[in-house]
Symmetry: C2
Subunit: 399 residues, 2 copies
């Protein structure tokens, strides 16, 4: 029997507890032993909970109990979760998490700590909720050089953009709907400004390249400036607008970015709607593969965590270097200003002015001042936008 | 260093050899040692091949060389491949394959043999080419009871059906195009009659359930009877026609089937076009997840094989029971006649006759004699078709 603890009894922690109980039969069958929750750590009181005897408020009780070899961290954030994760790893316990903020900020250190203590730190649930992505990237595509990763990794913003696309809603109305349905939080900043997506693309890129990519080095734009008119322009080009976290290898260096993108209908990301997520990975041997599903939600996220827990039990907690990365090396990442992109633009300038500044562009039929540029560096594009005296909208175009 | 052999130097075997050489850097980095091809087994002569010294014609040379611990079987078929795979497993070598026919027909026996000899028999490449599917099913979704699997798992038929859908071609013309492009073989039976898809859904279902599902027990229909008119009817219902291999759990029992299906546009399988494959898995906790990509091709398939090879090296060839299934148990599979489905029908009968026999149906606007039934058992449907004196087309409707 393996005894485990759950740190943080919110939505995800509760979900893990539920699955471990509800699917105990299939878990036992697959790992060859029982998986039992011995402790649940939470600062709140759960006096009326049927399993109230499991609740503790002191992490040391777990850390000092040698019977417990496995811990789920479902606290979120990078302060207490960071301290407690370190404590558990140093006490020789494997830790499984869905905490994208902690993994993206402190992964390098926590992997090293796990390795030193001969245990695992696993995080399949930190990207794409229940969608298999970490393991496919590490194992199934192991023979590939990963060339690019493009992901719709935030359900809230995808729901909002889908509403804007299908019902011609404004950003504000769509956000308000999402909040009413519980898809967006009262303070939606982490989602709509792209912080959540930034953490996820940071994790995937660090993992695929083996080198830490600092969140702060990822240029980030949210979707708050996207207007119904932008979406209508995209639609007229048989395309949609999605919030994308991407990274790609160019000239041996890696670029990463979070921004809204015009996605043409022949890209498999185009038909990913509502709260669904999808991650499109290109490997030099396999070409494009995409993993799709519900990127959030109690049971989906908990499903990925329990999958990791089972894997840790099967591999007796042994650290696997492939599920980690090392500290940032020099010259691995590209200067974002030098990255080349194609841009969609909406502006007040006349056709003549646009052509004078941007040269050869493709005007969007039926929309005044809307056009798509040729491929150019981010730097050149910024200069041209300035020369035009600013623009109403600028959105990068996929590939 | 790990020394390996490749059995069969066709498209896939050649692809494995290429990747092991081309991506040697990333392979070494990830498995911590060199992976070297010591032998290539093929009955043909390769006297002008730059690596001609590797070629052997006698499998015993490989079996008897204790330096070789890992073998790729890329011969295809279930005769020599079966004998040689047994020989290698019994000689204590792990075997990795893309041979769906062998895995689906002889998997149970070969897994047992691998377990007895303390080695692995891995087959990620046998379903969906380079698309990650076996490992996501076994590891990432391990905490779930798998409720259903619906897959577009044959690129040839999907290409043909896409042509019929987009260009209103007949089946014969689309097949002929596919043959010209090398997507279909001169004898297309294995693809268009659904044998290939049958083997793949057999493997996934056996793996998800832990019980062998005999290929012969899977009712199978190909796409040769699908007409341009059927496809037009589907289109008018905002749906497409796809060749689907599926299995689902109903009342605790498993049903599996291969048949063309009407797929509505809100199903993520709808937008899977051309030679692409996708597998939609529903787990009780995670909901729907889909894995998408190129389901065939030299490099994609070889990419999945090399991923398995690397995993075997990392786990020192140790047998993992979760990547296997046991012999068929009683009462696991449902009687196909009792399975309930919704059917699309085209017939010569009048509306009155249709209503008299089928009761409440939904007629397809703009197409005479075309309608969709209510949910009914396969048996009841067959009886009604007979009562109607036969029909022109009958296609099951997704969900």
């Amino acid at each position: 029997m393996t005894k485990m603890a759950i740190m943080g009894y919110g939505v995800v922690g509760g979900g893990v507890h539920d699955i471990v109980k509800k699917n105990a039969d299939t878990i036992r069958e697959k790992i060859g032993e029982e998986l039992e929750v011995k402790y649940i750590l939470d600062i709140r009181d759960f006096d009326n909970h049927p399993d109230k005897h499991l609740f503790v408020k002191d992490a040391d009780i777990i850390a000092n109990d040698s019977e417990v070899t496995l811990v789920t961290e479902a606290m979120g954030g990078a302060t207490f979760a960071y301290e407690y994760t370190k404590k558990m790893l140093m006490a020789g316990k494997s830790v499984v998490t869905s905490n994208k903020e902690l993994v993206s900020k402190k992964g390098t250190e926590l992997f090293r700590l796990a390795e030193e203590n001969g245990v695992s730190y696993m995080f399949e649930a930190s990207v794409g909720g229940g969608i298999p992505i970490i393991r496919p990237l590490v194992n199934c595509l192991a023979a590939n050089h990963i060339q690019s990763i493009y992901g719709i990794m935030n359900g809230t913003t995808n729901y909002i953009l889908t509403k804007m696309f299908k019902e011609n809603q404004s950003f504000e109305d769509a956000l308000s709907d999402a909040q009413k349905l519980g898809y967006a939080e009262a303070d939606p900043t982490a989602d709509v400004e792209g912080y959540d997506t930034m953490r996820k693309i940071s994790i995937l890129t660090s993992l695929a390249s083996g080198n830490e990519l600092d969140d702060d080095k990822i240029p980030r734009e949210g979707i708050t400036k996207i207007t119904a008119e932008d979406v209508a322009c995209a639609e007229s080009m048989n395309s949609g607008v999605k919030l994308i976290g991407y990274s790609k290898v160019e000239d041996g260096k890696i670029t990463a970015r979070v921004c809204p993108m015009i996605i043409p209908e022949d890209c498999p990301l185009y038909s990913v709607e509502d709260v669904f997520n999808a991650i499109l990975v290109n490997g030099d041997m396999v070409g494009d593969v995409m993993m799709y599903g519900r990127g959030a939600g109690k049971e989906a996220t908990a499903s990925a965590i329990v999958g990791d827990l089972m894997d840790v039990v099967r591999h007796k907690g042994k650290f696997d270097k492939n599920f980690s990365w090392e500290g940032e090396k020099n010259n691995v990442f590209f200067n974002p200003e030098d990255e080349e992109n194609v841009f969609f633009v909406r502006c007040d300038a006349s056709k003549d002015e646009v052509i004078k500044v941007f040269g050869n562009v493709e005007f969007t039929e039926g929309f005044e001042g809307a056009f798509v540029t040729e491929k150019m560096t981010e730097k050149a594009f910024s200069e041209k936008v300035e020369a035009l005296g600013g623009v109403l909208s600028k959105i990068r175009v996929y590939k």
